[in-house]
Each structure stands twice: as structure tokens, then as C-alpha cells.
């Protein structure tokens, strides 16, 4: 007996784990599940391990104190050798983890793997998804920059709207009366101790169930799941065409894991770490906070919902989604597994993907946010000033000076909160323009108290010039008033 085998024997005698481990890694799987579609679950675990390792690395320098967190990230980025790279790995790893967990979920859903007897595996998986999102959210706060600070403010505002206990919940969340040291400390505890511990426990449970119940077989259209027959059929399938997971099926997981880690490292190296943006000093108010990529959809939805629907949608919406996910395997625990015969399943995934992509894309440009510097930073395009009267040009000055440009674009530049005004004269008559400016409507404030009559006259005169060449401005239907531009052309008779 050589010495390595003897050491092995010594350990085996005192730590008899080898059999359980062998049973685990060699558990039989149906031959056709050794597929590229079945690699996302293992990849999620690999990325999770990367997150744990890089997280511990970061904790060697990071200081979870509101006074020092931001500065400690600066020194990680600039003073510690390759600190920026570890930060980037952790940041990109988090993005990849959310993406891969979602892919895993979509695959499991489309392959009907949540059906009998794997309902509980799915339920644990739903909690794993929520925890992954929880890690992504709390991780964003660890950066403790301006975005994190004001993001917490948004979180507090949302939480405060919970009926009855809202304000108390805010104080619990923040650990005090304001966003400060205690807030960062408790999110640090969540990000580093609470959620990871739960994640590890739930991943263990999830894996144990996969091994004990067997991996979901490749779904064949027409082969229906019945509670009475499924298990004997699965045993037969394993007997007929089962292979040991290790070493026959695992190689695809291994290759995919290597690809994912390489991709994360490449992104980290090329694009670098995320933030930190400005210092978390609340007195610097020149900021427009935006969440990280995976929460942009939420940011967009909050902006696009009508105000009266916000509060119900914020609390009922997520509750419905989570309840639906949890109930799915119990409502549809039997029947067809193959996505080829489940058009509603495919359709709902497509619909969900398109909706999420659309609102995320919208959030990228955030057309609902006023452009705070447009009034002083974007000059009135020349074509709107050439050949205009002194009054009209004075109006253009009023238009800029009163910050109209922050919400209204001209020639594609300026805020998009309100409609672009390049052709406003074709939509509104002089009277309507005056009314809109003075009284406001919908999302526009009334300027009645902030404009002198002279300013109003000049502004409206300018607005009336905003119509395409060759297209007449809108006129009062009564035909009497007309607008400045319309006056020279009397009604034509044929």
C-alpha cells in the first residue's frame, strides 16, 4: 500500500464520509439530461462560491462604517494592488449570478421540472431567487455612495407606505431616525451574515433534493406526469438509460462553469468595478440616483404607474408574483412537461422577458426625469431664432430662463418629461397656449404666479412660431382670433 492510500485509509477510518460523497457525485441521471440545458444550476453555485471568495477578499479592506465605507472603497480601487479587480469580479459576479439564476429558473419552468415530486425543490428555488435578489440589493448599499444613499431614501419612502406599521418599519430598516451609520451596519450584517448563511443552507437543501429525487428527465411531448406512476417510471428510466453523474454527465457543467468564470473575469478586467459614484454626503444634492441594472425595471415601473396606483401596486404586485411562483407546482403538479405542448408557459416567459427588457431599456434613458441643467446648458437651436421678431426672441429667452427646457425638448435636446415643443403651434392655438402656460395641466405646473404679463406675451409669441415650415399653426375654429402667423392669410374661397 502506498503512503497516499494509507493516509486516505486513516482518514476514512476516522471520518467515514467517502461513501456518502461517492453516492452523491455518482448518483445516476438519465442519459439525455447530460445536456447543455442542464448546466445553469451548477453554474449558479460556482458563481456563488466566487462571490463568497471575492467577498471575503473585499472584507479584508472594506470598513462597514458610514464614515469610512466610501473612502475604504477608494483605497481598494487605488491603493491596494488589484483591489479594483477583486471589486470588479464581485460586482460582475453579482450581475452574472442574478442572470444565471434567472436562466436556471426559466429552464426549470419550461422543462416542467417543478412538477411532482419536485414541488418543494422549486419552492426552495424561489426562496433562493429572492435571496439572490436580496444579495444584489444589499450589495448595492455596501458601495455606500450617493446612489446607495438616495436609493435607501427611496426604499424608506416605499416602506413608509405600508399600512399602519410603515413609519415603525422605516425606523427598523434604517436602525435609527435617518440614513446613517446604523443603516449601513445592518445592511452589512444582512449582506455578509444573514442572507449568505440562509443561501448556503437553502442551496444544501436544494441540492439534497436534486440528488435524492433524481434530476428531472428530458421532457418528452405526450409523456404525462401522474402521481401514481411517475416514480416507478423514473426508476425504470434510470435502470434502462441511467449514467453516473460523475464522470459521465458532469463535464458539460465543468466546461460551462469555466466559460462563465472566464466571462466574469473578462468583464471585470475590461469594464472594471461599479462605482462608487459620489461621496454619500446628503448636502450634495446635484444628483439623480439610479439603481443597478437588475432593479432598473422597478425604477421604471415606479415612474410610469399613475400615482394613485403606486402604493397598492408596490405591495400587492410583489405579493402576487411571489404567491404565484410558490403555488405554481401545486396548481400544475401533474400533466405535460414538455414546453412544446405548453404554449401558455412559453408565451408567459416571452411576455415577461419582453416586458422586463422594455422597461429596463426605458429606464436607461429615463425620459420621465427632467433634465435639470437643460435650461442653462442647451441653447435654443438657431433655426428657431432666425428671422424672428424681437418679441419672439424675448420669448425664447423666457422659455430658457423659466426652465421650460428642463421638461420640454427642442430639436431633440432638453428634458422629455413633457412633450417636445418643435411643432407645438400646430397642436395648440394662441388661447390654448396661454391657458396651458398660466394654469398648467396634468404633469405641468401652472406658471401664472411666476410670469409677468409681458413675459407671458413674449413666451406665447415664441411658442406660436414653433411649427414646421409650410405647415400652418393651429387656429381657433371660430376663425376670428387666429394666431400671429395665420393673420396674413385670409380664409380662402374656392
Amino acid at each position: 500500500m502506498n503512503s497516499i492510500a494509507r493516509i486516505g485509509q486513516w482518514f476514512h477510518h476516522r471520518l467515514p464520509l467517502a461513501d456518502s460523497i461517492l453516492e452523491m457525485v455518482q448518483h445516476p441521471v438519465p442519459r439525455n439530461t447530460a445536456s447543455w440545458w442542464y448546466v445553469f444550476g451548477s453554474a449558479s453555485i460556482v458563481v456563488f462560491v466566487l462571490q463568497v471568495v471575492t467577498g471575503i477578499m473585499l472584507a479584508l479592506t472594506y470598513v462597514p462604517s458610514a464614515a469610512e465605507a466610501w473612502t475604504s472603497l477608494q483605497s481598494l480601487d487605488h491603493n491596494v494592488a488589484l483591489g479594483w479587480f477583486i471589486r470588479a469580479l464581485h460586482g460582475w459576479g453579482s450581475n452574472f449570478m442574478v442572470a444565471i439564476v434567472l436562466l436556471h429558473m426559466v429552464q426549470v419552468f419550461l422543462f416542467g421540472a417543478y412538477k411532482y415530486p419536485r414541488e418543494l425543490t422549486w419552492v426552495v428555488g424561489v426562496f433562493l431567487l429572492l435571496m439572490t435578489l436580496g444579495m444584489a440589493f444589499t450589495g448595492q448599499i455596501m458601495r455606500f455612495d450617493q446612489d446607495a444613499y438616495w436609493g435607501l431614501g427611496i426604499g424608506a419612502s416605499v416602506t413608509s407606505r405600508v399600512p399602519f406599521v410603515g413609519p415603525a418599519l422605516v425606523e427598523f430598516l434604517l436602525g435609527g431616525p435617518i440614513i446613517a451609520g446604523a443603516t449601513l451596519s445592518r445592511f452589512f450584517a444582512l449582506h455578509v451574515f444573514v442572507i449568505p448563511a440562509l443561501l448556503i443552507a437553502f442551496i444544501g437543501l436544494h441540492l439534497l433534493m436534486v440528488v435524492k429525487l433524481g434530476i428531472n428527465e428530458w421532457p418528452m411531448p405526450g409523456r404525462l406526469v401522474k402521481k401514481s406512476t411517475y416514480e416507478s417510471q423514473y426508476r425504470e428510466l434510470i435502470k434502462k438509460e441511467g449514467i453516473a453523474f460523475f464522470p459521465y454527465a458532469i463535464w458539460k457543467d465543468v466546461v460551462f462553469a469555466a466559460i462563465v468564470i472566464t466571462a466574469i473575469a473578462a468583464c471585470a478586467a475590461f469594464f472594471g468595478p461599479f462605482g462608487p459614484s459620489g461621496e454619500p454626503d446628503p448636502t450634495i444634492i446635484q444628483t439623480a440616483p439610479k439603481p443597478d441594472y437588475f432593479f432598473l425595471w422597478l425604477y421604471a415601473i415606479l415612474a410610469l404607474l399613475p400615482p394613485s396606483l403606486e402604493t397598492p401596486a408596490l405591495f400587492i404586485g410583489p405579493a402576487i408574483v411571489i404567491a404565484a411562483l410558490l403555488l405554481l407546482p401545486f396548481l400544475f403538479g401533474e400533466g405535460e412537461k414538455s414546453w412544446r405542448r405548453r404554449p401558455m408557459a412559453v408565451l408567459s416567459i416571452v411576455l415577461l422577458a419582453i416586458s422586463l427588457a422594455t422597461v429596463t431599456h426605458l429606464a436607461g434613458s429615463a425620459p420621465w426625469s427632467p433634465e435639470m441643467g437643460a435650461w442653462s446648458g442647451q441653447p435654443v437651436p438657431q433655426k428657431f431664432l432666425q428671422g424672428r421678431t424681437a418679441l419672439q426672441r424675448q420669448g425664447a429667452l423666457v422659455f430658457q430662463g423659466k426652465q421650460c427646457r428642463n421638461c420640454h425638448a427642442l430639436d431633440g435636446k432638453g428634458g422629455q418629461r413633457g412633450p417636445a415643443l418643435d411643432a407645438v403651434a400646430t397642436r395648440l392655438t394662441q388661447d390654448q397656449l396661454i391657458r396651458q402656460v398660466l394654469q398648467g395641466r396634468g404633469n405641468m405646473p401652472a406658471y401664472g404666479n411666476n410670469l409677468s404679463p409681458a413675459e407671458t406675451t413674449a413666451l406665447v409669441a415664441f411658442l406660436e412660431t414653433l411649427h414646421p415650415v409650410g405647415q400652418r399653426p393651429a387656429r381657433d375654429a371660430s376663425g376670428v382670433a387666429g394666431t400671429a402667423d395665420a393673420r396674413p392669410s385670409p380664409p380662402t374661397r374656392r
Binding site: A67, G153, T159, R161, G176, P177, P282, P445
Partner: protein, 168 residues
């Protein structure tokens, strides 16, 4: 008979053990829960708020709205700059002031004052308020948050200490 006795003795000891552990759990849980919710109990009793000075009245010309900052009255050693709180001070006339929180009544983003148009704009979702803090446009369902204020010994004082939120 003897066997029955040992059995019941075991069961009794087991029950006693469970009871003892339950007792210990309750004794330990009380301080733990009290600790965990300390920020809530303190807030509910209003202990966070107190009067803070924004400085001399002279800094705030009549009829104008000016940016001001104050140090939050409740400070912990690790708070850093987060306790420096901004606000908008509107000197209406004489000793009449309005002091607005920086936080938008929609989702708490920092609103900015534009004296030219006499409006507060929120950069996040386009909430707009008039100079008196009333809602002008956009998603907020109410006007700006206002701190109670008073003028004393030539200085402006506000009652502050908590992050204003729409649900409070």
C-alpha cells in the same frame, strides 16, 4: 411496574428540560427583541426630534428661498457626513418662515429650487412644487415635507431629527 416508573421519570425529566430551555429562551429573547427594535421604540416615543438652529435670520433674505444645512440632532460616532442634512428655507416675511425637507414627497429624492421659475423640481420622477411647498405637478400626492420652525434670538430654529417619509 418498575419499568413504567422509569419511563415516566424519563418523560418528566425530558419535559422539565424542555420547560427549562423554554424559560431560558424567553429570558434571553426579551433583551434580544428589545435590542433589535430599539430604533423603533425610541422613534415611537419621539426621542429623535429636537430643535436645531439653522443660523442667523440675516442669512435668509426676505422673499427668497435659500439652501441650508444642519447637523441631525441624533448622532452616532460612525455616521460620518450622513448626519449633515440639507433643507430649503423660505423667508416669507418678518418672522414668518417655511422650512422644507430636501426629500421629495414621492420617493425621497433631493428636490432642487429654481428661483427663476419659482419652482422646486425633483430629478427622479419630475415631481414639481410651488414656492410655498404645495404640489404643482408630477407623481407626489402631497406638498413638500415641512419642519416646524420658530425664530428665537435672531436665529431660525426647526424641529428636526427624522427622515421625512410619505407614510409618516
Amino acid at each position: 411496574m418498575a419499568e413504567q416508573n422509569t419511563l415516566s421519570r424519563r418523560a418528566l425529566l425530558m419535559k422539565l428540560g424542555v420547560l427549562l430551555n423554554g424559560l431560558v429562551a424567553i429570558i434571553l429573547a426579551l433583551p434580544i427583541v428589545r435590542f433589535l427594535f430599539s430604533s423603533v421604540t425610541r422613534g415611537r416615543s419621539g426621542a429623535y426630534r429636537s430643535w436645531v438652529s439653522l443660523g442667523s435670520v440675516d442669512q435668509f433674505p426676505e422673499g427668497q428661498t435659500r439652501f441650508a444645512t444642519f447637523r441631525n440632532p441624533y448622532v452616532m460616532p460612525t455616521d460620518g457626513k450622513t448626519v449633515d442634512t440639507p433643507c430649503w428655507v423660505r423667508h416669507v416675511t418678518g418672522t414668518q418662515f417655511q422650512v422644507f425637507a430636501i426629500n421629495c414627497a414621492h420617493l425621497g429624492c433631493p428636490v432642487r429650487w429654481f428661483p427663476q421659475s419659482g419652482l422646486f423640481f425633483c430629478p427622479c420622477h419630475g415631481g414639481v412644487y410651488y414656492r410655498d411647498g404645495s404640489r404643482a405637478a408630477g407623481p407626489p400626492e402631497r406638498g413638500m415635507f415641512e419642519y416646524p420652525n420658530r425664530v428665537q434670538n435672531g436665529a431660525v430654529w426647526i424641529l428636526a431629527g427624522e427622515l421625512p417619509t410619505p407614510g409618516a
